[in-house]
C-alpha cells in the first residue's frame, strides 16, 4: 500500500478520500487553489500545497503545478477524485512517465473509454447491447438521414466528444434532423473543439442504470451491483439508489454480467462504472458509456455492500489483488443518495455561491452526509455547485424514502439557496415513491 498520496481535487471528494487515507495510515498531500485556502478539510491533510489561482484551468486542471506538487511532496500516487483531471488520459500518461501511480485505470483503458465510438465498438464485440445508431461519426447530413430512417425516428444527435447531456438534440423527422444537425455541429465545435456527431435511437422512457465494477491488475474483476440514477435535471444526476427499483432478478443479473464482459474486453482496471439506458417496457438495456473513475454516487454502493470504494481503488492501484470474489459481495438493504447543490432549483438551477451562515447536517441510524461545508464556509463561485451528499441506508426502498425525508427535513443549510426544497418535493411525489418515472421526470413534473 502507498505511504503518501496526493489528492488532485477539492471539496467533498477530497475530504472523502482523505478520510479513507487517514484510516489506512496513508499520508495525504492536499492541493488547493487560492479560492479554497480557508477550507477546513485542508487541516486534515498532512501537507498542503497551493497550486494556483481560483480558476480551475490555472489550478485543479493545471497539470504542471499538480505534478510539481507531487514531486516536491514526494508522493507515490495521485488520486484524481471525480471531475477535473480524473478522466484525462494525458494526465494519467504524464503521471506514469513521472513514475507516480495514477489511482485509476491504465492510460490505454482511459483512452479507449474516453472515445465513445471506440467504447461502443468494444461493447458490441463483447456482445453488450448498444443503442442502435451510427457506429461512427456521420460524414454528412445525408448519411445522418440514412441512419435516422434506418433506425426510425425519433433519433438523438450526439456530439462524439460530449457528455453529461451536453451536445444532445432530438430529431423527430427529416426536417428537424436537418436543422438540428447544423446547430449541434456548431455547438460541438464551440464546446469540445470537435464537431463530430453521431446518430442513435431515441428511447422514449428510459431509466439510467449503471453497474459498479472493480478490477485488479491481475485479471480479477467483480461487480458491486447496480445504481439507478434516473432522477436527473438537465442530464445531471440528482438522486441515485441501489438496487434499481425497475430491474427484476434476471435483468439485474444480465446487466451486471454485460458490464463485467465489457470491462474485461477493455482490459479495464481499478473502479469504473458502466452506464446503461434501460427500457422498462421492453426490458432491454443499452450500453451508453463507461465512467473511468470514482463516481459522485459511489456511497450508495458503499452503503449496500459495506465496502469502502476509495480503499479498494487504492489497494488495486498499489498492485494488490482483489480481496473479494463475486460470491463475497452480498448487497444488503437499500441505499439512496441526494445531491445537494448550491443552486436555486426554482430559477433554472442557477448556481448560488456565497457564505453558509448556518450548517447543521442530519444524522442518525443509517444516515451519512458527505460534505466539506461548515457554518461560516463560503461556497466559491468557481467550481461545481455540489456541496453535500445525503446518503441513507434502510432495509427496503420505503424505509430509505422515510429516512431521506427525515434527513432532508432536518438539514439546516442557511445562507445559500440549495436544491434541498426540490429534493423534498421529489420524495413526496407519488411517481417517485412508486418508482414509476424516467430520465425526464424532473423536467416534466416540476417547475424549475
Amino acid at each position: 500500500m502507498f505511504s503518501r498520496i496526493l489528492i488532485a481535487n477539492r471539496g467533498e471528494i477530497a475530504l472523502r478520500i482523505m478520510r479513507t487515507c487517514k484510516r489506512l495510515g496513508i499520508e495525504t498531500v492536499a492541493v488547493y487553489s487560492q479560492a479554497d485556502r480557508d477550507a477546513l478539510y485542508l487541516g486534515m491533510a498532512d501537507h498542503t500545497i497551493c497550486i494556483g489561482p481560483p480558476h480551475p484551468a490555472k489550478s485543479y486542471l493545471y497539470i504542471k503545478n499538480i505534478i510539481a506538487a507531487a514531486e516536491i511532496a514526494d508522493v507515490e500516487a495521485i488520486h484524481p477524485g471525480y471531475g477535473f483531471l480524473s478522466e484525462d488520459a494525458h494526465f494519467a500518461d504524464i503521471c506514469r512517465s513521472c513514475k507516480i501511480t495514477f489511482v485509476g485505470p491504465s492510460v490505454e483503458a482511459m483512452e479507449l473509454m474516453g472515445n465513445k465510438v471506440r467504447a461502443r465498438k468494444v461493447a458490441m464485440s463483447a456482445g453488450v447491447p448498444v443503442v442502435p445508431g451510427s457506429e461512427a461519426p456521420v460524414a454528412s447530413d445525408a448519411e445522418a438521414r440514412d441512419w435516422a430512417r434506418k433506425i426510425g425516428y425519433p433519433v438523438l444527435i450526439k456530439a462524439a466528444m460530449g457528455g453529461g447531456g451536453r451536445g444532445m438534440r432530438i430529431a423527430h423527422n427529416d426536417a428537424s434532423l436537418a436543422s438540428n444537425l447544423n446547430a449541434a455541429r456548431a455547438e460541438a465545435h464551440a464546446a469540445f473543439g470537435d464537431g463530430s456527431l453521431y446518430i442513435e435511437k431515441y428511447i422514449e422512457s428510459p431509466r439510467h442504470v449503471e453497474v459498479q465494477i472493480l478490477a485488479d491488475e491481475h485479471g480479477s474483476i467483480i461487480h458491486l451491483g447496480e445504481r439507478d440514477c434516473t432522477v436527473q435535471r438537465r442530464h445531471q444526476k440528482m438522486i441515485e439508489e441501489s438496487p434499481s427499483p425497475v430491474l427484476d432478478r434476471h435483468a439485474r443479473a444480465d446487466i451486471a454480467a454485460a458490464a463485467v464482459r465489457l470491462m474485461k474486453a477493455a482490459k479495464y482496471t481499478n473502479a469504473g462504472t458502466v452506464e446503461f439506458l434501460y427500457d422498462p417496457a421492453a426490458k432491454k438495456f443499452y450500453f451508453i458509456e463507461v465512467n473511468a473513475r470514482l463516481q459522485v454516487e459511489h456511497p450508495v454502493t458503499e452503503m449496500v455492500t459495506g465496502l469502502d470504494l476509495v480503499e479498494e481503488q487504492l489497494r488495486i492501484a498499489s498492485g494488490e489483488r482483489l480481496r473479494w470474489r463475486q460470491k463475497d459481495i452480498l448487497n444488503s438493504g437499500w441505499a439512496m443518495e441526494c445531491r445537494v447543490n448550491a443552486e436555486d432549483p426554482y430559477a433554472g438551477f442557477k448556481p448560488c455561491p456565497g457564505p453558509v451562515t448556518r450548517y447543521v447536517p442530519p444524522s442518525g441510524p443509517g444516515v451519512r452526509v458527505d460534505s466539506h461545508l461548515y457554518s461560516g464556509y463560503a461556497v466559491p463561485p468557481y467550481y461545481d455547485s455540489l456541496v453535500a451528499k445525503v446518503i441513507v441506508h434502510g432495509r427496503d426502498r420505503s424505509e430509505c424514502i422515510q429516512k431521506m425525508r427525515g434527513a432532508l427535513e432536518e438539514f439546516i443549510l442557511e445562507g445559500v439557496k440549495t436544491t434541498i426544497p426540490i429534493l423534498k418535493e421529489v420524495f413526496e411525489h407519488v411517481r417517485f415513491v412508486r418508482g414509476n418515472y424516467d430520465t425526464r421526470f424532473i423536467e416534466n413534473e416540476f417547475k424549475t
Partner: protein, 173 residues
C-alpha cells in the same frame, strides 16, 4: 418588526463592508453602524478571492470581502483595499514581494557551484533573473518584474515552494 429584513440589511452591510447604513421605507426606519476597523470575516467567512488580487499573489486579505461589493461605500472600501495592496499586501510598508508563479523547487543559483543570482542589497531591474524554480525537471527562470533593491530572501535554497509563495522582498526604486 421583520427580523429577517433587519438581518438581511445587516448581512449586506458586512458583505459590502459598509460602516453605516440608514434606511427609511414604508414606515420602517433602520440605522446601523459598524466599527471602522477590519473585523475579519465574522463567522470566518472566506469571501471568494478577486481574480485581480490573485494574480498579484496577495494573500486573501481584508480586501477580498470588498471585492464583491458594489455601490458607493463598497467602492470606497475597495479603494481602501487597493491602497493597502499597493503598499505591499502583507509586506512591510515600502517593500514589494516577488511571489512564485508556479509550484516547484526554489534555487538561488543556476548550478551548485555558481554564485547566487542575487544577494541582499543587490540592485535588480525588472528583467533581472532572481532565482530558478524547478518543476517537472524544467528550470524556470524567475524575473524580478520590478526595479529596486533586494531587501530580504524569504526562502531557503533548494526548498519547495507553492503557488503564490513570497520569495523576495524588494524595495522599489
Amino acid at each position: 418588526m421583520d427580523l429577517e429584513k433587519i438581518q438581511k440589511l445587516i448581512e449586506m452591510m458586512r458583505q459590502f463592508d459598509l460602516t453605516e447604513l440608514a434606511v427609511r421605507d414604508e414606515g420602517m426606519e433602520f440605522k446601523a453602524r459598524r466599527g471602522e476597523r477590519s473585523f475579519g470575516p465574522v463567522m470566518a467567512v472566506p469571501a471568494p478571492i478577486a481574480p485581480a488580487a490573485v494574480q498579484q499573489g496577495a494573500p486573501s486579505g481584508a480586501n477580498s470581502a470588498a471585492s464583491t461589493g458594489n455601490g458607493a461605500s463598497a467602492v470606497e472600501a475597495k479603494a481602501e483595499a487597493e491602497d493597502k495592496k499597493a503598499d505591499g499586501g502583507g509586506t512591510p510598508p515600502g517593500l514589494r514581494q516577488i511571489t512564485s508563479p508556479i509550484v516547484g523547487t526554489f534555487y538561488r543559483k543556476p548550478s551548485p557551484d555558481s554564485p547566487p543570482y542575487v544577494e541582499v542589497g543587490d540592485e535588480v531591474e525588472p528583467d533581472t533573473v532572481v532565482c530558478i524554480i524547478e518543476a517537472m525537471k524544467v528550470m524556470n527562470e524567475i524575473k524580478a518584474e520590478v526595479a529596486g533593491t533586494v531587501r530580504k530572501i524569504l526562502v531557503e535554497d533548494a526548498s519547495p515552494v507553492e503557488y503564490g509563495q513570497p520569495l523576495f522582498l524588494i524595495e522599489p526604486q
